[in-house]
């Protein structure tokens, strides 16, 4: 009971920080920062999911940008694909009657018949979860280098499919994605008039996910995951179905990435193949490394800071290099995240004469 109230306190502090940031931006006349902060929130959603996967299930993934893009592309394709010419077909007519399809004006004023964003959202998340599930069964049997390369390979496949498929816009991606009317009055979209609303929607989504994940890791499932991470064989001997727990965590983190992908696509009005690139996956990984694998709040903080700086362009053309450098420094000196950094010990190990490798 005590720990659950601590969780709600943490989320409340986080909510207060979100409000404080918005007010500061408003007061200091930098309201346009909220656009990048909103995009940061969606990236953070991917990061916390990945942190759970890496820290609790002990599985590396170099393909999470692929899941983000799979969600985003599915939503983008469904909400921009005009089914008007196919209205005669029985299935299209049936879907239209069920309000799964909606008539909306396109930017040129003509009416197009497209899938409702909510239906597209459900399809996108379900598809990504299904893909993660099917891929996850064989992939999660691998460990170490093999797992890293397999997930890297999946990310590369998704990237090259996005880049090489003309109906997905090839190198240009899909644009003209309509705003997402969640409920009357709440809309996810890029128009400056709803900037504040979008900022709060995005971070509320993060807060909600955090609550979900924190509750998860303090539940029976979370204890099982921690046991797996500490000693997989021992956990298995205690009767924990390690494969199933790992798979579930993988699917959950992929689904979170897909949710982020869908919302961010509606917010930006489109998506391009670079969202699926390996470098994007490596960035998510770098941020989790900085925040500490399995430390959800650490990952969230690292993501909020680093993604915002990166999106605002503070790193300029050195953006990739900065993330590469961060990745190396953190992994060399403080592999458990910078919050765990013991500076003196790190310096000592750096200055200590290398010992022969014989002992262990």
């Amino acid at each position: 009971m005590k720990s659950s109230s601590a969780r709600y306190l943490q989320v409340s502090v986080f909510a207060a920080a979100t409000v404080a940031v918005q007010l500061t931006a408003q007061v200091s006349g930098k309201a346009y920062f909220l656009t990048q902060l909103t995009m940061t929130a969606y990236a953070t959603l991917v990061v916390v999911g990945l942190s759970l996967l890496m820290g609790y299930a002990g599985q590396i993934s170099l393909g999470h940008a692929g899941f983000f893009a799979l969600g985003g592309y599915t939503a983008a394709a469904l909400t921009t694909w005009d089914l008007g010419p196919r209205r005669g077909q029985a299935i299209v007519a049936a879907l239209a009657r069920l309000h799964v399809l909606v008539l909306r004006p396109d930017p040129y004023g003509a009416d197009v018949l497209t899938v409702h964003p909510w239906a597209a959202f459900a399809c996108a998340v379900a598809l990504t979860a299904a893909v993660a599930f099917v891929i996850g069964i064989p992939v999660l049997k691998l460990t170490g280098h093999y797992l890293a390369m397999a997930t890297l390979g999946i990310g590369t496949i998704l990237y090259s499919v996005a880049l090489g498929t003309p109906s997905l816009g090839a190198a240009d991606g899909i644009s003209g994605v309509p705003p997402f009317q969640l409920v009357p009055g709440l809309q996810i979209g890029g128009s400056p008039s709803i900037r504040v609303q979008n900022y709060y929607l995005a971070w509320a989504l993060v807060a909600l996910s955090m609550l979900l994940l924190l509750n998860l890791i303090h539940s029976r499932v979370g204890r099982a995951l921690r046991a797996i991470h500490a000693a997989e064989d021992a956990a298995s001997a205690m009767g924990i179905d390690t494969a199933r727990f790992k798979l579930r965590t993988f699917v959950l983190s992929a689904a979170l990435a897909a949710v982020a992908g869908v919302f961010s696509t509606h917010f930006n009005g489109g998506i391009g193949p670079s969202e699926a690139s390996i470098m994007k996956s490596v960035k998510y990984l770098a941020i989790v490394a900085v925040g500490g694998m399995g430390s959800l709040w650490g990952s969230l903080t690292a993501s909020a800071v680093l993604n915002f700086l990166s999106l605002r362009g503070y790193f300029g053309s050195f953006d990739d290099a900065v993330f590469g450098g961060i990745l190396i420094l953190v992994m060399l000196f403080s592999p458990d995240g910078i919050l765990e950094l013991d500076l003196r010990a790190a310096l000592r190990s750096l200055l200590r004469k290398p010992r022969p490798t014989g002992e262990s």
Partner: protein
Amino acid sequence: MFAELFFQYLVAGLTYGAIYAIVAIGFNIIYNTTGIINFAQGEFVMLGGMTAVTLHERLRLPLPAAIAGAVLVTIGVGALIEVTFIRWLEKPSVLRMIVITIGVSILVREAALLLWGQDVRTLPYFTGDEVSSLSLLGARISPQVLWTLGTCAVAVAFLSAFFKFTMLGREMRACASNRDAAALCGLPTRNLVTLSFVLSAGIGALAGCVVCPITYTQYNVGTGLAIKGFTVAILGGLGDSVASIAAGLILGVVESFSVWVLPTAYKDAISISILLAILFLRPSGLFGARGAR
């Protein structure tokens, strides 16, 4: 006509396959002595090609000298990477090493971008030029293809002889089979690890120079090559250099013929699907017997 086209695709496949095999051997050399997969392996190939182009065009060095220079520079970079990032770590976890070498590959790539820009570069053909070709069984073959295949063959023969017959090669093999025991016998295991990076960087750079006229080079070609090289290393069974050659040639040929049935854009997806299939169905590789972990 069909037979000629078939042969043409086969030769193209073998050329790429030979390159993949060399990158895979680079992976294997380091994996064998350290148990690390060096994700920056592709960057050595890129560095070799780019440095050779610069030495040849800017400093007007003759081609052989430029290539030798490029190999030496890349060897230096390889040694520097090992000494700076890897040498002093005590028994690092696999995850940590994966992430560090990925970071290194990004830094090398960004440094190359800063140094050389985004231009696509190339070396002149070693003999003849773009249009000169030999006719073999009805297919037209550029002499550079023969250079590539020949260099790969020589490099592999040299490495095999080195590991089999020289004292240093034997010491490296001892380090590979049991590092602790090798250290107990008084072998300088840390220096042997550095040497494995040197060898791996050298052979990667050489491959980068030889293919440069055919495939061209750019600051970002390393990642793709690393993925292909790793695919081949896994196909052959991690650590087995001879099997890598067979696996490399097979993958090159399969990829080359895949263009017949599928759009070129999906070429990479094909070879990675093969990698995944192998990982799932036969994780010890096509020819390997050892269990993969």
